[in-house]
């Protein structure tokens, strides 16, 4: 009798050990942050924050903001989880499905609405929004309710290497420039034998909708239920982007479209003009301190149009530390520490209502012409946002790639793109 009881006890112990092992492998979750959960109040609260925008260069800047917040709020600790942009949406989606998402997480404008509509975000209506630019506050509402706070905005400008222009005796890019001027300069600056390229602009959805606007067209119709790019403006945009590949711009076989390829090309002084985001200012200044470079508003075809991106942070609907989460949200998006850090480190810009707060940013060099960042906002091409965003982007990217590889004409690719994207919008 005694013996069999011992055996049962042994089995129970083994079973518990195994279950414990398995449980040990699982992550903490929004409802159970990091295992044993402190509740809000005076007790210590640990809050998880997942983001992509600090990855690859701004990790220390985010940590500085976190430390300042923790010093001001002794009861709250922030556990930061930083994920590369390329993996972020899959990771967040899977985490939300499994109920293991962080208490607070970053969202791109394009993906915000699907999370808001799905009920994944806590309603934070009533939170103080006075400090933010009004248009950005409204961008993160759905049905009159606030579901996230704007965190940053950024845009894309034309970077150029002054040394390469000087070497060829060419005039620097000017505000009056159009695509034709850019092409002419790019051709003169390209020296394939020396590995020097005149231009670099990703052949992708994110550039394409903008080039359509720069030619006076639109990617989607006004109602947003059909494409509008299969016209002269769309054709001009597609030809402009794809025509660069292999002539003034490196091809995939040369390494284009691999991580950091364009950054390394520009900072090693082998790229004359580069269409990229203002978040690269700090990286370029740091990696190429000797190089002379500046930026300017992107040239247009028939008109100017610049891309504008915005990120936001929201609170998980399942988080059990809502009050602490909201405190962190407000601090992280609008505190003076955040504004100072973002400006001093040339990270994405804070979404402040009071633009005079950006003055400090405009005074930092290089680049000398930081005013281009604000000037770009005068004519903005907003990214079309649809429910099946990723499918749409993949189709556009694939079709543009067939044109740049010379396997299809721009006309055929646009027609095929339209035939595939239109059904996604119904």
């Amino acid at each position: 009798m005694k013996k069999s009881r011992n055996r049962l006890a042994a089995i129970a112990v083994a079973a518990i050990a195994v279950t414990g092992l398995v449980a040990g492998c699982s992550q903490g979750s929004a409802t159970n942050p990091g295992g044993d959960t402190p509740q809000t109040g005076d007790a210590q609260v640990t809050l998880r924050y997942m983001n992509f925008s600090s990855n690859d260069g701004h990790e220390a800047d985010l940590q500085a903001i976190v430390s300042a917040f923790e010093a001001d709020n002794p009861g709250i600790k922030i556990a930061v989880e930083t994920v590369p942009y390329a993996d972020y949406s899959a990771k967040l989606q899977t985490a939300v499905a499994g109920g293991t998402e962080a208490d607070t997480f970053e969202l791109e404008y394009a993906s915000f609405i699907s999370y808001a509509k799905a009920g994944a975000l806590a309603d934070i209506t009533g939170i103080d929004t006075a400090a933010y630019a009004e248009s950005l506050v409204k961008a993160y509402q759905d049905g009159g309710k606030q579901f996230a706070l704007p965190e940053s905005f950024s845009n894309v400008v034309l970077f150029y290497n002054k040394d390469l222009f000087d070497a060829k005796g060419l005039a620097y890019p000017a505000n009056e420039w159009t695509w034709a001027d850019e092409t002419k300069a790019a051709e003169a600056l390209t020296d394939k034998a020396a590995g020097v390229w005149g231009d670099y602009q990703p052949i992708s959805y994110n550039e394409f909708y903008k080039t359509v606007a720069q030619s006076g067209g639109q990617f989607l119709n006004a109602a947003g239920d059909a494409t509008a790019f299969n016209d002269q403006a769309g054709l001009a945009g597609a030809k402009w982007l794809t025509g660069k590949s292999g002539t003034t711009m490196p091809t995939d076989a040369d390494g284009a479209n691999t991580p950091d390829f364009d950054t390394n090309l520009f900072t090693s002084g082998k790229l004359a003009m580069w269409h990229t985001g203002i978040w690269m200012f700090g990286t370029v200044a740091e990696k190429a301190p000797e190089m002379n470079w500046d930026v300017i508003v992107e040239p247009g075809n028939t008109q100017k149009a610049s891309a504008m991106f915005s990120n936001a942070v929201g609170v998980s609907a399942k988080s059990q530390v809502q009050d602490a989460a909201k405190k962190w949200l407000s601090y992280y998006t609008a505190s003076q520490t955040t504004i100072d850090t973002r400006l001093a480190k040339s990270w994405e810009l804070p979404p402040v209502a009071d633009q005079s707060k950006l003055d400090a940013y405009l005074k930092i060099t290089p680049p000398a012409n930081r005013q281009a960042v604000l000037d770009s906002l005068n004519a903005v091409a907003l990214a079309p946002v649809v429910a099946k965003q990723q499918q749409m982007q993949d189709i556009v990217n694939d079709e543009l790639a067939t044109v740049s590889a010379g396997r299809a004409s721009a006309e055929d690719a646009l027609a095929s793109m339209q035939a595939k994207v239109d059904p996604l919008l119904k």
Partner: protein, 306 residues
């Protein structure tokens, strides 16, 4: 009732009691593998069957669509495309990896110098991470500055665009895959070769068979159980090909090398269509099951168990 029956019944009862006593221990020893297997394999598989009957973006609540996902997938051109690519991959990969593995196994079955070292060397790629291997092959096959095209250029052969060319993207993946799995096939076939009794070979030699004839008529047929195992495993792996495609070509250019599992990944983790992804997984499962069943049945005709 005879004594024998009584003793027999007592024995049976005792055995039953023993079995009951041992059951606890059986469970204890099974638990470490059975519990993870249930949690991480069986349960998700069953769950995916349930998910496949719904529309679900993994954030919002599931919506019942019955067999709608299956109907959509089976009528979608894209599904046939990715299965076509998968089949193309298998058609190139299987003969290449088998022939290569056999060649090396036969060579390393001879009394060579440094045989042990060579056996280990050929097996190293098998235990190397796919990501590392794929990146190295991507570089080797780089159209403009890769080693392979450089060598082809030296001897004046045409230099394909490899993974940047829709026609050559799948062959690029096949080359890398065959190279990596060569060692695995070699080990299985080498074990098979060594299990063939020496006497049979000797008898053939005495009867005047040259090495070539003795290989084709003695060794190869007696190797058929190992061949069968290699073919079954390689086919299943072939249908499930993913890592190398994901890293080397990303399914491109423009979807030209997208395979079934790559499509499942895209549907679930990029497009937020977990229902369709689960349905496609089950379609793939059905195909693999059918192909394997046909092989199990067909083996009776060609596999010789000595």
């Amino acid at each position: 009732m005879s004594d024998a029956i009584v003793i027999g019944a007592a024995r049976k009862a005792r055995r039953r009691k023993m079995a009951a006593k041992n059951l606890g221990w059986v469970l204890v020893f099974l638990a470490p593998s059975a519990i993870p297997l249930l949690m991480f394999k069986i349960a998700p598989m069953l769950a995916s069957a349930w998910v496949s009957l719904h529309e679900w973006n993994m954030i919002s609540p599931m919506e019942w669509v019955g067999l709608g996902n299956y109907a959509n997938l089976l009528t979608s051109e894209n599904t046939w495309e990715v299965f076509g690519h998968t089949l193309l991959y298998i058609l190139g990969y299987l003969p290449l990896v088998y022939a290569g593995g056999l060649l090396i196994a036969v060579a390393l079955n001879q009394k060579l110098k440094a045989r042990g070292f060579l056996r280990a060397a050929y097996f190293v790629p098998v235990v190397t991470s796919w990501v590392a291997v794929a990146l190295v092959w991507q570089w080797l096959l780089n159209p403009s500055n890769g080693l392979v095209n450089h060598l082809l250029g030296l001897v004046g052969l045409p230099q394909p665009g490899w993974w940047t060319d829709p026609f050559w993207a799948i062959p690029s993946v096949i080359l890398a895959s065959a190279w990596k799995d060569l060692g695995f096939v070699m080990v299985i076939l080498l074990a098979g070769l060594q299990a063939i009794p020496q006497e049979v070979q000797e008898a053939a030699t005495v009867d005047g068979a040259n090495p070539w004839r003795s290989f084709w008529h003695i060794t190869f047929p007696l190797l058929s159980p190992s061949t069968f195992f290699v073919v079954v495993i390689s086919l299943i792996n072939g249908f499930q090909v993913f890592d190398q495609v994901y890293v080397m070509t990303g399914g491109g250019p423009s979807g030209a090398s997208q395979v079934a599992v790559g499509r499942i990944y895209d549907l679930a983790f990029r497009y937020g269509e977990a229902g369709s992804a689960s349905a496609l997984s089950w379609i793939l499962f059905a195909i693999i099951l059918a192909v394997t069943a046909v092989q199990m049945y067909g083996q009776k005709k060609w596999v010789n168990y000595a």
